[in-house]
């Protein structure tokens, strides 16, 4: 993520340094969105409990997507929820990142054979870090958050984000309105 949200990597030394500084600030103040879905949400809350205390790394929850930087998809996403999830992602202000937490969010997990379950949240939003586990330990979530920190702060890694935002129209479109993102 370049300076002020642009995709271009600044070539200038001064701008490049500023870019580094701002991305350092971004990586050290990642505010996740309060959006618990399923089992992993309880472990997500536990990541902020006294034992793990992710607040040590300057992260605390914001309830509104406008003020959040990171969306932690913590649980099974089904087709009913997928539209809302995508909408929340669209509502977040740039720059924004997504962590897919747990087997269900990664690829549907044990429920992937169900008719209603989206097989992987990366079909509807671009995911930066994946955490395996069912549910992952709080330490694993903290590790993922720190991996995301490194990805944002690192000059080489931060331009690796898949910029084309995936949109699985089968999942996102309302019945009868093909090819168009739903009006919710």
């Amino acid at each position: 993520m370049g300076l002020l949200g642009s995709d271009e990597r600044p070539r200038d030394i001064i701008l490049g340094t500023l870019d580094d500084l701002i991305n350092m600030a971004r990586s050290r103040s990642m505010w996740p969105l309060t959006f618990g879905i399923a089992c992993c949400a309880i472990e997500m809350m536990a990541t902020w409990d006294p034992k793990i205390d992710a607040d040590r790394f300057g992260m605390f929850f914001r309830n509104t997507p406008r003020q959040a930087d990171v969306m932690i998809v913590s649980g099974t996403v089904n087709k009913k929820l997928a539209k809302r999830l995508r909408r929340l992602y669209d509502q977040m202000a740039e720059p924004k990142w997504v962590i897919s937490m747990g087997a269900c969010a990664n690829q549907g997990g044990p429920f992937r054979q169900g008719y209603s379950v989206v097989e992987g949240v990366d079909k509807i939003v671009p995911v930066d870090v994946y955490i395996p586990g069912c549910p992952p330990r709080p330490e694993a979530l903290l590790q993922a958050l720190l991996l995301l920190r490194d990805k944002i702060a690192d000059r080489e890694l931060r331009y690796q984000k898949p910029r084309e935002i995936p949109a699985d129209y089968d999942v996102l479109a309302e019945p009868g309105k093909d090819g168009r993102l739903p009006v919710l």
Binding site: I37, A38, E43, N63, N78, P135, R137
Partner: protein
Amino acid sequence: MSTMSLEPVRGRTDEMIVNMGPQHPATHGVLRVVLGLEGERITRAVPHIGYLHRNHEKIEEARSYPQVIAYTDRMDYVSGTQNELPFVLAVEDMLGIEVPDRAKKIRTMFFELYRLASHLVWMGTAMLDLGAISPFLYTFWDREIILGIVEKTAGARMLPNYYTFGGVRRDVHPDFFKDTADFLDHMERRMVDYEHLVLESPVVHARTIGVGVLSKERAIARGVSGPVLRASGVAYDVRKAFPYDAYPDVEFEIPTSPDGDTYARFWVRFQEMYQSIRILRQLVELTPKTGPHKGKAPARIKPPAGERYRAVENSRGELGVLVVSDGTDKPYRVKHRGAAFSNLQIVPDLFVGAKFSDSIAILSSLDPVFGEIDR
């Protein structure tokens, strides 16, 4: 019918339709409630569920009996092993498997540990909904201790897949009883603090007393169970009414309150935690330290054709399962009776007429868990 309709009433400008959820900090997951607000007063409330529907029952029909246990864990994810028990009990009944006394007691200990864990999560999130931050952190640390005890034996923190047909999967860790006794000492000290912070706080009194009153008749008519039912004055508890596992061997009471308001539900959950501590104290003494942890179960679980319903009292109420077998190694039908799902039925009743802030308090006093509601 106007209370069920989502559309704004034509020509009515004083009502605002507000969509609470599925992303809302106070809905405990992915509940969506469409509220009609007249100022701060709620005129209509329509809960929408299904945002976490993941075909539990259908997937379980396609799994063999031992595999189903791992899936039942994911239903009421706050209270871990409690979900496994009704299914295990039903299949044990169908097959006539004998469960050793020690295994029963270990199961009951885990059951009550998870009840404490679940009520701690409830307390923290309920206080967070009311606006207090610190109790949330305190309760989560206590829960962390419980999960540590569980992990030492069962291998996982939240969803351990620990019960099995005829007992438990593996023997408890040698430190288990000592850890539990230590934790209970710790918990008794902390309960004093929680009383100060929750039950005795005048702000909590102001927010909860007389709010969201659920009458006894209404509660019975809506099929409510668990602490919500007992707070309305009905002393129904599956542990006493249809005892299972080691509950006949231990002494405990069923706390009830005649008020039926939000504070009564808070109070009943608190008393249940005291009862859980009491049960665990007895079981630490009663459980034999050595002995079999698992009865004789056939290598391939193939119950005879027939059906069986078993229920247990989990943290939220009566959690039942109906297993229908057709004689193969996969169940023909697994139907869960979720406590939180039934308790959620009273949401429109309690919301309509309440203040908007009250609706948050009421919802947190019902303690819904959406894994089990949507299944």
